[in-house]
């Protein structure tokens, strides 16, 4: 006996196809990436999530403009495939403030010291600094020197001052 012809859906509800992809958390929200798992995190954040605070500078992991934190550790988003972040927590500059919108100490210090000139490298600088302070709450000059992120405007001295100020803010002191 032939099958009856398909009947139109009355409810308008259609079954959703099963989707597979890479699940990960960005700034506290869960996402699934269903495209090319090799897509660099940088371009997924920017083109797909439209989190454009993370910047492209070189594509070879040399400048640090795309620095994000993956499970709290600095990573070059331009060289990190989305697949490599599967199941992990990614923090971008948009997620540095706490959920109530209170700025991270490095953000406050960056404003107080008026660090940015062109501002392009600063998201990466902020995340590098935040990670340094999480690891070393009272960083030495040598610790700060070890930050490899590039800036052509010459904001390094203010970055240095801002990291010290942020350390004081994090300790509860008012610098």
């Amino acid at each position: 006996m032939p099958l009856p012809p398909p009947t139109p859906s009355v409810s308008g509800i259609v079954p959703e196809p099963r989707r597979t992809g890479v699940e990960l958390t960005v700034n506290g929200e869960r996402y699934m990436h269903t495209g090319d798992p090799d897509m660099p995190l940088l371009w997924w954040l920017r083109d797909v999530l439209r989190l454009t605070g993370t910047k492209y500078g070189c594509g070879v992991g040399a400048c640090g403009a795309c620095t994000v934190l993956v499970d709290g550790k600095p990573a070059r988003a331009c060289l990190t495939p989305v697949l490599a972040a599967r199941g992990r927590n990614v923090t971008t500059v948009e997620g540095l403030a706490d959920p109530l919108g209170r700025l991270h100490p490095v953000q406050r210090a960056w404003i107080d010291e008026d660090v940015p000139q062109c501002g392009y490298c600063q998201a990466g600088q902020l995340l590098a600094a935040a990670e340094l302070l999480a690891r070393r709450p009272q960083p030495s000059d040598a610790d700060i020197d070890a930050i490899p992120n590039l800036c052509r405007c010459g904001t390094y001295p203010r970055i240095r001052r801002a990291i010290r100020r942020a350390a004081a803010i994090a300790r509860g002191e008012t610098p």
Partner: protein, 753 residues
């Protein structure tokens, strides 16, 4: 780099009057507005009054000020509005700054510029603003006072203003917000209105925080490529690596097979007869894709080969010998001659000669070039990270044939300019592709594109010679420069190509009786362009290094030798940009301040050496002093001092950032950077072989000394660069006895034990 200002005072006032009550900024409904969450539109709210092209006031007293110059880190989005806000006595805490687009209207087929000069180059934004934007603030204030006079029945001259209020003699306060609607109906006197006296400044001269800092540190600040336009495509271009080369072979099938790649097309040619101002575009093949990753994959999958042209064998390795040959021949242009150099040199008690080599360098702005373009049949829209929006406008007109009223250009915040974005080659590429594709295009350059297809700071060999008399005075001076002129291929006649290479009134011209400056043309197919403080970087290095060599050869103190050369404070004529005069007293003053701060004359710690240099750049006077040591081939910069006299300081915080930042930029470049060419193509690919200095290499602080001045402001973007490299070379010599005459310094430093 001198920004043309075809904007008379009379014309400016007419614009102000015409714009009173007219909608000028951000309001015309734009096709892409809904797609892109235009913050500027949201900011404006529904009811406000335009007092002129730059100022509007909301009923609640909030003042919105338009910043006309793109901000690439030089701080004009903060400093320009503060000049206006001060003149109008606005409450800075109530000011919201918005970026103005290119202000242009169709005036019977010709463009009429609404906002005056909008380009960012030659450190001219502040001097230009000083000339005309104060009038915008004063006009707004005048209108508000007139409205208050009408409201209160008091004569205007009995009213004063303060931080957003008009105050009456009997202490009544009328807020700008409540007066704005009336003020917007008044018209300005033809003669213009009076400006404040300097004693009345409340913002000018006070440190300001950058208005965009909060948005930058939270990732909310949008740069050009942070925008997405509807169904736009990402475009990437593989360019011919050989100068003036051509496409030889293209098989796009593998690229087109990649998911997300929509089109592959050779970059269309510019319409016949059009000029870019920097020579032709490189031949290229564009990959258009739905997202950046697909475009990158498509680009990598292209099977493409290129044919070299005349530049196929070009190499920088032979440039220096070419320069030597040129210098032994006759000069292309005798730039300046005073007295009789040959005789004075021959008869001098001491004769000193040295050669200095300055390599090609790239800009390497942290943000690679990008541009968003949509070309409709009757309108073109651009989001262009450019320093010269009017030139970008010309490019769009040439390619599309659209009229002045059919081209809209917005300038986003720019991730570094340094002169690179005075050229609009990437804008031309994006417009060509958007027109060909019939869709909005976001052109994205990679870092490799950026380093390989820049307009580079020229290469030069400076041959200096000086004669010194028995008293140690310089009596003869000769600078012969063989260089690849920046102006090559820019429509400049051959006999004017020297003008970008030697500035005839630069010190020590006018200070040495027998002087000869001559330029020798070097031919090389690499495109050249403006690099922060263009020719000054090379000339200050040669001249200020050589002065040190003279001092050491004749057992004089390099500081005192410079002071003696500068002589009694006087005005010397200065015909190049930054003139019409050079004040030797102001130059000596910054030199003295820097010397004093570094502790010149006192004993340096063991192994440390100190060096000085000073230079006049575009109207600003800067001296640098460093204290350094070298051990195991590694340089340590223990102290860095920069003393700057840039005229009246609008924002001391901004000047500190520009002079300090310019110093580090100069040090990074002088130490590390060179572009070389092999087999007709640029060798350097990315930061690993074009290593901008990292934090660890740079001094921990730059002590910037600002000279208080009542002189008109000169800007500050470029002055911090030229004297830094020679001061560093002089300090390295003082510490080690090794003279570095060739940039970059790092290989030379590594050879010092």
């Amino acid at each position: 780099m001198n920004a043309g200002n075809g904007f008379t005072r009379r014309g400016f006032l007419r614009v102000l009057a015409a714009a009173g009550g007219a909608l000028v900024v951000g309001v015309p409904a734009r096709a892409w507005a809904q797609q892109d969450g235009r913050e500027d539109l949201a900011i404006l709210g529904d009811s406000w009054t335009a007092l002129n092209a730059f100022v509007r006031v909301e009923p609640n007293g909030r003042v919105i000020i338009g910043a006309r110059t793109p901000d690439m880190g030089q701080g004009t989005r903060t400093s320009l509005p503060r000049i206006i806000a001060d003149e109008m006595d606005a409450d800075w805490t109530q000011v919201k700054v918005i970026a103005l687009p290119l202000g242009v209207e169709d005036d019977q087929g010709a463009p009429r510029w609404l906002y005056g000069p909008q380009s960012a180059g030659g450190s001219t934004s502040i001097p230009n603003a000083w000339r005309d934007l104060r009038q915008a603030g004063a006009a707004a204030r005048w209108l508000l006072v007139q409205a208050a006079a009408a409201r209160t029945g008091l004569p205007p001259d009995q009213l004063r203003t303060e931080a957003g209020w008009v105050l009456t003699p009997d202490a009544r306060r009328l807020g700008y917000g409540e007066l704005a609607a009336d003020a917007g109906k008044l018209s300005l006197p033809d003669a213009g209105v009076a400006l404040k006296s300097a004693q009345a400044y409340r913002l000018i001269g006070k440190a300001a925080q950058g208005v965009d800092a909060p948005a930058i540190v939270t990732g909310q600040q949008k740069f050009g490529y942070d925008h997405y336009w509807g169904d736009g495509l990402i475009a990437m271009i593989v360019r011919c690596p050989y100068f003036d080369g051509e496409l030889d072979h293209l098989d796009a099938s593998a690229a087109l097979a990649i998911e997300g790649v929509e089109k592959v097309l050779p970059l269309p040619a510019m319409p016949a007869g059009t000029l870019l101002g920097r020579g032709p575009l490189a031949a290229g093949v564009a990959v258009l894709a739905k997202d950046t990753w697909s475009a990158l994959k498509g680009r990598a999958a292209l099977d493409v080969r290129w044919k070299p042209r005349h530049g196929g064998a070009a190499s920088t390795s032979t440039l220096e010998s070419d320069a030597g040959r040129a210098l032994r021949g006759a000069p292309t242009t005798l730039v300046r001659r005073n007295g009789d150099f040959a005789h004075a040199f021959r008869t001098a008690a001491r004769r000193i000669q040295a050669q200095y080599v300055v390599p090609f360098v790239a800009h390497a702005t942290m943000e690679p070039q990008n541009c968003l373009v949509r070309v409709d049949p009757d309108h073109a829209y651009l989001m262009a990270a450019t320093q010269t929006p009017r030139s970008a406008f010309d490019v769009v007109r040439q390619i599309t044939g659209l009229g002045p009223g059919q081209i809209s250009i917005e300038m986003p915040r720019i991730g570094g300019g340094f002169g690179r974005r005075l050229d609009n080659d990437y804008v031309a590429e994006a417009v060509l592709l958007a027109k060909a594709a019939g869709k909005p295009i976001k052109l994205q350059w990679t870092r490799e594109d950026d380093l390989g297809h820049d307009v580079y700071r020229p290469f030069g060999v400076h041959a200096l010679a000086a004669g010194v008399d028995r008293k140690g005075r310089i009596v003869a001076w000769r600078q012969h420069l063989a260089s690849t002129s920046k102006l090559w291929r820019r429509g400049v006649p051959t006999d004017r190509l020297w003008t970008s290479e030697l500035y005839p009134d630069d010190p020590p011209a006018g200070m040495v009786a027998n002087l000869e400056l001559a330029w020798f043309a070097l031919d090389f197919p690499l495109p050249r362009g403006n690099w922060r403080a263009p020719g000054h970087t090379a000339n200050a290095f040669a001249v200020q290094s050589f002065l040190d060599e003279i001092a050491h050869a004749t057992h004089q103190d390099p500081f005192k030798l410079r002071l003696a050369l500068l002589g009694t404070p006087r005005l010397l004529p200065y015909a190049s940009h930054g003139g019409p005069t050079l004040d030797t007293g102001r130059l000596a003053n910054v030199l003295q301040l820097a010397a004093q701060r570094i502790g010149w004359g006192s004993r340096a710690p063991a192994g440390h050496g100190r060096g000085l240099a000073c230079h006049f750049t575009f109207g600003g006077y800067v001296a640098h002093a460093f204290e350094v040591s070298v051990s195991d081939g590694k340089l340590a910069i223990h102290r860095a001092v920069a003393a700057a006299d840039v005229g009246r300081v609008i924002d001391p915080n901004g000047v500190d950032a520009q002079i300090g930042g310019g110093t580090l930029d100069a040090l990074s470049t002088a130490l590390n950077l060179a572009i070389t060419v092999h087999d007709g193509a640029v060798v350097q690919q990315n930061f690993p072989d074009y290593p901008l200095a990292r934090m660890a290499e740079m001094p921990r602080e730059v002590e910037v000394i600002q000279v208080p001045s009542q002189a008109d402001p000169a800007g500050a973007g470029e002055m911090g660069v030229p004297s830094a490299a020679p001061a560093l070379a002089n300090a390295i010599f003082a510490a080690t006895g090794v003279r570095l005459r060739r940039m970059p310094f790092k290989p030379g430093i590594a050879r010092i034990g």
